[in-house]
Amino acid sequence: MCGVCGCGDGEVRIGGKPAHKSHSGHDHSHQHHHEAGSATVNSDGGDQNRWLHIEQDILSKNDRYAEDNRARFNELEVLALNLVSSPGAGKTSLLTATAEAIGGAPHMAVIEGDQETENDAERIRATGVDAVQINTGRVCHLDAHMIGHAMDELTLSAGTVLFIENVGNLVCPAAFDLGEHHKVAILSVTEGEDKPIKYPDMFAASDLMILNKTDLLPYVDFDVERCVEYARRVNPQIAVLQLSARNGEGMEDWLAWLANASDRLTTPVRQRPVVQVNA
C-alpha cells in the first residue's frame, strides 16, 4: 500500500498491474488529496485531553477524487455511467449487446470491476471495445481513486460513453461516488421484484433501473408493475426500461436513453429543455 495516500491498498490491480508500486515515479493524471479537507476546526483547551470539533465528511477523500473524475469527464465530453447490480444480472451481456449496436471505440469504453479475473474485460474486448479490468481483491466496490487510474489506461474522446461496471453487489457500491453522471441499476427478472425495497440504498441512488432478461418473463413469477412501484417507493424519480440483452427486445429504448443522456452532457444548461431523461 502506498504509505502516503493509501492507494494500492490490499490487492487492487488495474489492467493486471498493481495499482501502485511505489509513490516515487508513479503517474497520475489526477491530483492526490492528502490535505485534511475544508473542515471547520475549533479546538477547546484542556490540559491533558483535548476535543476538536469539526464537520468533515468521512468519505471526503473519495468525494474529492470523484470531483476530479467528474471534471475530467466533463472536459472530455465523456458520458460516464456507473452500472450496479447483483452478480449475474447481466451487466456484461448488456455491454456486449450495446457494443454490437453502437460500435466499439470511439463510441464506448469500459472499466470492469471484479474481485478477481480478467474474464469480463476480455468479453468486452472481443467486441472491439477498449476495456480495462480493475481487480479489487478483498474490496467489495470500486472507488473514485481506482477510476482515476483506470481512466489513464483508456483512450477517451468527445462523445465516448464510458461504462463503469461495478463489482456485482447491491449494497456497498451505493456509498461510493465515482464521479459518474448517472448510476444505472440493473435488475434481472429472475431475481425477484422486491429487490428495490430489500436493497433500497442502491435504487435510491440510481437514476435509471433496467429490468433485464425480459425474454424469461413467461417462465418466472416476476411482477413488473409491482417491481416498478417498489422502485418508485424508494426513488420517485427513477426512470425504468425493460429489455433483453439476449434477444435485443427493448434495446432501442436503452440506446435512445444513452443518446439523450449524451446530448444533455454537451448541451449548455440554459438550452436544455425541461424534461426528464426518460419516463
Partner: protein, 138 residues
C-alpha cells in the same frame, strides 16, 4: 462489508488530525450518520479491527443517528416519511423526494490524549459496554 472501507477512511482522517494536533492517542471519535447513509452498526466491529496499531487503537466510537426527513411541497414543511424508505409525507401522504436530513456521514468531534496524561481511558473492553455507551448518546 463496505464498513471496512468506511472505517479505513475514518481512521485515516482522524489520524491526520491527531498528527496535526501532536496527539499521541485518540480517545473518542464522534460521528453523525444519516438514516440513508448506508452504514450499519457493523462499523463498530470494523473500526476496532482497523484501528489496531494506529493512533486510534482503543478509541471509543460514538455514533449519532440522524433521522430521515423530507421536504413536503404540499405541506410546505419538513416531514418524516410515512414509513421507512417511503418517500411520502407522513401527514398528507403526497410524494416528497427532497431529502432534508438523512444522508450525513460526518466526523463531528475527536478527543485527543497527549503525552503525560494520567487520566485512564474508559474501560470499554467488551463489545456490549461499547455499544451501550454509544447508544446513550443517541
Amino acid at each position: 462489508m463496505h464498513e471496512l472501507s468506511i472505517a479505513q477512511n475514518l481512521i485515516e482522517l482522524v489520524s491526520e488530525h491527531a498528527s496535526q494536533e501532536g496527539a499521541c492517542r485518540v480517545r473518542t471519535i464522534r460521528i453523525r450518520l444519516g438514516e440513508l447513509s448506508g452504514f450499519q452498526r457493523a462499523l463498530y466491529f470494523c473500526f476496532e479491527r482497523v484501528a489496531q496499531n494506529t493512533v486510534c487503537e482503543g478509541a471509543r466510537l460514538e455514533i449519532e443517528t440522524v433521522p430521515l426527513t423530507l421536504h413536503c411541497g404540499t405541506c410546505n414543511d419538513t416531514r418524516r416519511p410515512s414509513t421507512r424508505y417511503s418517500f411520502r409525507c407522513c401527514e398528507c401522504g403526497m410524494p416528497a423526494s427532497e431529502v432534508v436530513t438523512g444522508r450525513e456521514m460526518q466526523i463531528t468531534a475527536i478527543e485527543f490524549g497527549f503525552a503525560g496524561t494520567d487520566v485512564p481511558a474508559p474501560d470499554l473492553s467488551s463489545k456490549h459496554e461499547r455499544l451501550t455507551a454509544a447508544r446513550q448518546i443517541n
